[in-house]
């Protein structure tokens, strides 16, 4: 949750730059709650609105569980590593 405002600012900058393609590296994220998910959904909406794409990389077990239980894994494709997420991007 602490990182949510920073994420919003970064995404706003990226969207201004044109066709946004964003990978969020989740490796340093130990825990996500529904407020954090809301921030990522907001980011995804911004990016989709600019015909862009957002992928998540390296989510830990807790993040994967939350994505699956909320069925958000359907809209956030996630990958084991940043390198995998960047493949074919």
């Amino acid at each position: 949750m602490v990182g949510a405002p920073a994420l919003k600012d970064v995404i706003s900058e990226v969207v201004k730059s044109g066709l946004p393609r964003v990978v969020i590296d989740m490796e340093g994220v130990s825990f996500v709650d529904s407020t954090g998910l809301g921030s990522v959904i907001s980011a995804l909406k911004q990016i989709k609105g600019s015909q862009g794409e957002l992928r998540l990389a390296a989510p830990n077990q807790q993040v994967r569980v939350v994505l699956e239980l909320t069925t958000l894994d359907r809209v956030f494709p996630y990958y084991a590593t940043v390198e995998e997420a960047l493949t074919g991007f």
């Binding site: 949750m1 602490v2 825990f31 709650d33 529904s34 407020t35 998910l37 809301g38 921030s39 959904i41 907001s42 909406k45 077990q61 807790q62 569980v65 939350v66 239980l69 909320t70 069925t71 958000l72 359907r74 809209v75």
Partner: protein
Amino acid sequence: MGPKEEPFEFRATLTVLDQGLDTLHQSVDRLRQATGRDESDPQLILFETALGEIGANVLTHGRPQEVGVPVEYMLRFEGGTVIASFVDPGPPVHEHLAREMPDVWSEDGRGLVLARSLLDELGYERDGELNRWRLVKRL
């Protein structure tokens, strides 16, 4: 060595959202240490996720800073079951408890639904001017 089953208890008063959430996670870390569980223990991950959701809800909508009354928090482990409780002075929340999971594009409204799905029991009662929450999960 497998997990230990000795009783464990942690109590705190919470007043501010970010610090309060830190305290909740610290209490679960202490429970992990006390019971010999590691960070990948799946049942404790589910419990901690539910605890964070209810805790954030209580610390946001319980509004302890407005009425000057802190949220009382207790975490207990006994007989293989972990139980957390919150007592907050916020307004009643009955109408929020029956919510369904919102659609994937919604940016809020998932917390209580998610917590309910992760616990064996989510108890709530209005007691005078207080809300009493009880979260139960068998580990």
